[in-house]
Symmetry: C2
Subunit: 474 residues, 2 copies
Amino acid sequence: MWMEKHANKISILRLSGGLMKSFIYFFGLFLGLTTTSVGRAAQVQERILENGLKVLVKEDHRAPIVTSQIWYRVGSSYEPAGITGISHLLEHMMFKGTDQLAPGEFSKIIAENGGQENAFTGRDYTAYYQILAADRLPIAFQLEAQRMRALRLSEAEFQKERAVVQEERRWRTEDDPESLTFEQFNANAYVTSPYRNPVIGWNSDLEGLTLADLQDWYRKWYAPNNATLVVVGDVKPEAVFQLAERYFGPLPREEIQPPRCCAEPAQLGEKRLIVRAPAREPYILLGYKATALGHGSADWEPYALEMLASVLDGGSSARLSRELIRGRQIAASAGASYSAFSRLPGLFLLDGLPAKGHSIQELEQALRQQIRQLRETLVSPAELARIRTQLIAAKLYQKDSVYAQAVELGRLESLGLGWQLAETYVEQLSRITPEQIRAVARKYLISKNLTVAVLEPQPLGDSEPIPGGPAHVR
Amino acid sequence: MWMEKHANKISILRLSGGLMKSFIYFFGLFLGLTTTSVGRAAQVQERILENGLKVLVKEDHRAPIVTSQIWYRVGSSYEPAGITGISHLLEHMMFKGTDQLAPGEFSKIIAENGGQENAFTGRDYTAYYQILAADRLPIAFQLEAQRMRALRLSEAEFQKERAVVQEERRWRTEDDPESLTFEQFNANAYVTSPYRNPVIGWNSDLEGLTLADLQDWYRKWYAPNNATLVVVGDVKPEAVFQLAERYFGPLPREEIQPPRCCAEPAQLGEKRLIVRAPAREPYILLGYKATALGHGSADWEPYALEMLASVLDGGSSARLSRELIRGRQIAASAGASYSAFSRLPGLFLLDGLPAKGHSIQELEQALRQQIRQLRETLVSPAELARIRTQLIAAKLYQKDSVYAQAVELGRLESLGLGWQLAETYVEQLSRITPEQIRAVARKYLISKNLTVAVLEPQPLGDSEPIPGGPAHVR
């Protein structure tokens, strides 16, 4: 449950007509990656162009299609206070014309060629992709190269897109009580980390943005030496490298100043917040400050936290479902989530809706009892074996999609972890022992590191959310 | 109690040998201003130089002394995330030499002329002052004008001062459990307002600061058109204006970009945090999101909140002292505080230490009961009359000091409210009715707007605070 609910706050996919299906698909995969997927990407070929653009190619000849994805190392966690939301708004503007293309022409050309395309913005990256018949790859490269450095930002389009994004913010966050709770929760769980700000931005910041801000943000981050081009599908690496050289090679590099903000100070005790909003049901969200790969702690710790999340929430036989939903019937839904892969340390999250006749307090106690149990008692080898099997299956399932394979590579590169991690991920997870799971529970999942948000439903009025939101938002 | 405890987190005065007395004096006055002082500054003369410097002069011939103060509109609330603390660190560097002066020479010259001088940094301003025999005013002007645009920032001095500031941070905040609680409290009470950051800066930001950052900050904000020069004492306005023209007139103006960060979104429910730190006693701090002059609410509201604060905490006959400390003996100390004067909306604060044998929970209930009572029952006319008398007395007492008079003018100017407010302040407060006090209690002092921080004492170890801290910190 948590996965669908919150995916859109961590990474915002642009919605366009007919893409609702791939939207759902994408987020399933995306968060699949964060808790359960694994990779063995042995056939990836890498080339770095002279202007710094890194090109990754993975052959997959099962179908005559290809995905081309360009990943920029910029997202909401790069944004200084005052201009939050600028990365996502710029992503919208990337479809509004270049020196050679009229607004909307990019999407029109891809559609005329039978392709699908879209973009998404996350905390740590902004990515654009196309899925096309393999022989149409040059079209994607040509268009994507054009808008890397020659975007034409117009005031009129900017005003329109800002209104679109503000509307998106209204139905995705403000009129969705669980999203609103999640937004408030992040702003309080983190003290200085830029993960405290929503990807879509604070509304007052959106109000204050100017075209000059967007110009500046575009110039600073949209450059070949701040991007990764990932191609997966029915292609030959050498041909792709030549094509990349032809279209992207002439683009000038930019001086990139890495973002300097902001190490999170140690938390000193439990924090709580109440969110009162029109809603049908109460809702609770718990988050423990955790670690991430490459952040000082032993490298196995993030993997152990991922395995721990799978113990709690890895399908219907996992503990939360078995014990809280079906067993004691305290929860109508309950979830756990953690990602080893982020640029900055994140949170280990638990959430849930109480079942009819049960209170938020009971559910909180039950969730905390689950954590306590993991601090005290070792997970059984049989339970771990079941999770390993699931992880390997999820990884295989993911291989079925050229899109998901490319997302994995682009994401790891953009987080600064390197795509090679995709090759060792399953192995690292598989090595985790019951003792290591208990050790990370004891180290991280303690009340000193905890923030709890409780949604207290208020009467539904005119602001009752429209199920699913509007269909078209581009 | 609150006043001494927290003054140093909102405004940091540089401490130098022999100035501990004026330090205490200053903060008494400073927070006196925020809750109880009033003004009638009829004789202020104003002149704006061509380069934008505003000069205010107030004659006071009771003693042959003068204070010269230069107030810059920059402070911690101007700082983007990632470089918090830069205003305060730059203030330290302002004593480290200019094109004409060696490090420390500024202070040496003032001392040789029998003067006192220092500086302080707040959320919304950075100020430098001298107190001298009236005939030495040209010395202050000459020196202050030199360092307005010709500061010489050296890497060696910067490294030294950063270490000094980090040490200051250690003993003022990290080793002082109540200060630490206040810091954590602010970071959680505010979601986006820059008031969430400490004036002294987050330590990781201090670590990351560079000399180039300071150069840039200095260039951006230290300019005649971003400053107010305030002179109070045994002087003639016309002579002061001529002197100002001579020393400050030639300085070039700067393009000032006002800070754009960040409107605070509406709070949606109560928030709580626990701070575990080595301490002898528990401590509780409650803050309600409030308003400030010039921020949309009716103009009388901030005055009504100030009067309300005085009902609770205006000397030993005020309610907190009478009912919680002496009466029920629940609190060892208790305070209330609010300022109508700030650049951005602030908080209405309550705090306290429980008396022996009483718990934090009892104290919290008692403090909230005091607020409830103000929401329900009108303050009596006799009680209001007593507070009015106190306010007028405090204002008269303040007039005794040229320094405090200048601080009032400089502060109002720097907050964008205009020094003229000093003339109407008493009158505005005196007009407040019992109904208005109840109205602001009902509007602002409600649990939706509340954040509560509780200090949970941990055993004192090696990090036991040194009472009073080191004597010399410059």
